[in-house]
Symmetry: C2
Subunit: 111 residues, 2 copies
DNA sequence: GTCTAGGTACGATTGATTTCGTACTCGAGT
DNA sequence: ACTCGAGTACGAAATCAATCGTACCTAGAC
């Protein structure tokens, strides 16, 4: 029941190159802009992002985000939770999440 | 003698995806971190960056940076100048250059 | 135990990106 | 005019990244 947290790099091991390569992909960036815009930092399901790609490819993208140190993945066995590593990212790359949050406002249709 | 400025996108046309893809490459990012760290924003020669790649490949990388809107390229015919579009980048993506500048401090050997 | 929904492992394919070889252009200097 | 240094154009090779098909695993519901 208590999911196991899949490992990612420590705060001090975060590398800008890896992070920027992770954010270069449109799908991964759309995930990150949503996470950055949600200030509650609540855990989210993997398929709450409505990505127009197969589940195998989603697995790949979430792994890239985790290995870049941007998110935590919590493995429950038959499902998975995603959470933004906001404090870590903010401390290592201040201003980065603000850029993504601004992009989310631009990319979200006004309602 | 007065070089012609090669065209890049207007400020409002800068796209985060294009910018992040441009910054994902190590060589292009090393150029950008150097430019971001130099607060005088002086024009620089193309080969003042000591990139360990052929000149054809350098041409390619500088073009990517220009088309992303990050730099201006001034063509003098037999040589070329590079200048950071600091105000444009700062106004469209505030905080981005600060991230690159911080990376320059980390990546520069202490002397 | 069986079934099902969500996720992963592995491999193959496809597409994009980086890189460079060859040939060419341009301007400065002699 | 000739040469030289710096850069570009074009195309090919090589490398890397995104995508998916098939098969498999896991926890929960029945």
């Amino acid at each position: 029941m208590a999911g196991t947290n899949l490992v990612g790099p420590e705060v001090d091991a975060l590398e800008l190159g890896v992070v920027l390569r992770a954010l270069a992909d449109e799908h991964r960036r759309s995930v990150m802009t949503e996470l950055a815009a949600d200030r509650t930092d609540s855990e989210r399901g993997c398929n709450s992002f409505a990505l127009p790609i197969s589940k195998q490819t989603q697995t790949h993208h979430f792994r890239v985000l985790r290995e870049a140190g941007l998110i935590d993945e919590i493995d429950y066995g038959n499902r998975k939770g995603i959470r933004l590593r906001r404090t870590d990212v903010d401390s290592r790359f201040p201003g980065l999440l603000a850029l993504l949050e601004a992009e989310h406002r631009d990319g979200t249709a006004p309602h």
